[in-house]
Amino acid sequence: MATQQSRALARIMVSPAVILLFLWMIVPLMMTLYFSFLRYNLLTPGTSFAGFDNYYYFLTNPAFFAALINTLTLVLGVLVITVFGGVALALLLDLPFWGQGIVRIMVISPFFVMPTVAALVWKNFFFNPVNGMFAHLARNLGLKPYDFLAQAPLASIIGIVAWAWLPFSTLILLTALQSLDREQQEAAEMDGASWLSRFRYLTIPHLTRAITVVILIQTIFLLSVFAEILVTTNGGPGTATTNITFLVYAQSLLSYDVGGGSAGGIIAVVLANIVAIFLMRMIGKNLDA
């Protein structure tokens, strides 16, 4: 059906999007790469070639190692909670019960809460050691209130972020569950397969794909968690909650070290790309263009 003319037209129609995305991706990234080889601080005039010094300083900075560990802990912590919690919740919500529509809405709601609101609500109304709900509950039970963000800062942030992402994994896994072949399930049930073996041999294999998608997409977003850290702990105490995104932000916009921050940015891009390659393969397999 595609004539020469419609092909030419198609090319014209697609080109604005391609050109804009190309400019958006290539130009700033090249500039970051260029800056990363410069001695360039906004507070001191002039720039000079620095070779790999910025990378060397960024990678050997103790804060970088801490940030790397924090980033991995944050990503893995949230993934574990949201994947296991998501499977459990999806299995529950897939059962017949009264008021499915309303419960679904309640479960999905946290996903629509903007990160700054989510973080401040948890920080003040729940984690606050004086007026927070957990402090009130602890005092009622005769316990000493626990200062979550001071004593377990990273775990608290993992909690906040996991709360925001649990709806996402639940919704996707629930959607996947609902496409499960019911007749196959019933056939297995009639043949005397127990719930556990049906779960193990029918449900889990069916969900594997959706779980992979959840893990990959969340990882992309979780690698760049920023707002939740900014409004709760500001990366501290010390570097206890500084992830790589936050470290680059601090290095460039708080310390005005353009060179060092750029080197950090390039490192963040490389880390994200490792994940992205796997995700792209998954999505590409499913695409029959």
């Binding site: 059906m1 037209l9 198609a10 090319r11 129609m13 697609v14 604005p16 999007a17 391609v18 995305l21 991706m25 130009v27 700033p28 500039m31 970051t32 529950l92 919500l93 059962l95 017949p96 019960f97 008021g99 499915q100 809405i105 309640m106 709601s109 996903f111 629509f112 809460v113 903007m114 990160p115 700054t116 609101v117 401040l120 920080k123 003040n124 109304f125 729940f126 009130h136 009622n140 709806p167 996707i172 496409s179 019911r182 760049s224 707002a227 900014l230 409004v231 995104t245 932000y249 460039s252 916009l253 940015g265 963040a268 891009v269 994200a272 792209m280 998954m282 590409g284 695409l287 263009a289």
Partner: protein
């Protein structure tokens, strides 16, 4: 063949599901409740707070700072504006890729997606410096450009998966009836594409409303949306729980309501069609 479930089992599942639902939603419900209390009551222990008098004072107080309206309007302008801009660019692109696919279409789609995988922090510095030099820091137009670009891949993808579902036979039939390209687009394709475009619009407004990296980095006050307004409560003085609750409720309410209508599209849009 429906699965049989005894009433007792269903009642038990209902209880469990509702408990979990309320628990997950609890921080939101609690914030909404607290927003109708006075500052002095908001910091009381849970039961004392619940039984205290209801008031709209916090809303009045947040509204009185006329500045709230500006943040809200910025959120509306940025989310709706950038979504419309992305749609204008993405509709023709998705259209041609879905209906006139070439050898490179798949590669092109995957490449577009890959731009979405780039962490924002990797281009923070050049964007910041370019914005500073061009006088775009803290301007709506600057932020509109960035938000349009970061969402463009998702918009193209969502539209593409929707357009793909429009049967090509209909196009061929209309062509047999003598329709030209223009009338084909206006009379045949557009009516079928409207639902897909609407869901894309909805999901993208939600994502942009909650975007909290660029909006926090590139704005201070003039173009700052609600994400920035709420972030201003991170180092508060005095009693502010009720005010924070009221501001938070107002910041999330429009998007919560929009979001409830877009559950189905959410899965599709956020998994790039990998889970439907």
């Amino acid at each position: 063949m429906a699965r049989k479930a005894s009433t007792a089992k269903k009642a038990f599942v209902t209880l469990a599901a509702w408990s979990v639902g309320i628990l997950i939603c609890f921080p939101i419900l609690w914030t909404i409740l607290m927003s109708f209390k006075s500052e002095a009551d908001a910091v009381k222990a849970p039961f004392a707070m619940l039984s205290s008098a209801w008031t709209l004072d916090s809303y009045a107080e947040v509204q009185e700072r006329s500045i709230y309206g500006r943040y809200f309007m910025n959120s509306v302008v940025l989310s709706v504006g950038s979504t419309l801009m992305a749609l204008v660019i993405a509709i023709p692109a998705a259209w041609s890729m879905a209906f006139v696919p070439g050898k490179r279409t798949k590669d092109l789609l995957m490449w577009m997606l890959s731009t979405k995988m780039m962490p924002a922090v990797g281009v923070l510095i050049p964007m910041y410096l370019m914005f500073r030099d061009a006088g775009l820091l803290d301007t709506q137009i600057g932020l509109l450009i960035i938000l349009t670009l970061i969402n463009l891949p998702i918009v193209v993808w969502m539209l593409y998966t929707y357009f793909k579902e429009i049967p090509v036979e209909i196009l061929e039939a209309s062509r047999m009836d003598g329709a030209n390209m223009w009338s084909e687009i206006v009379h045949v394709l557009t009516p079928m594409a409207v639902p897909g475009i609407a869901s894309t619009l909805l999901l993208n407004i939600i994502l942009t409303w909650n975007e909290a990296f660029w909006t926090l980095q590139l704005t201070t006050s003039d173009a700052a949306p609600l994400t920035q307004f709420i972030a201003g409560f991170s180092s508060p003085q005095g009693l502010f729980y009720a005010k924070l609750s009221a501001a938070s409720t107002m910041a999330i309410a429009p998007i919560l309501i929009l979001g409830w209508f877009s559950q189905k599209q959410l899965v599709r849009g956020l998994t790039f069609g990998a889970v439907k």
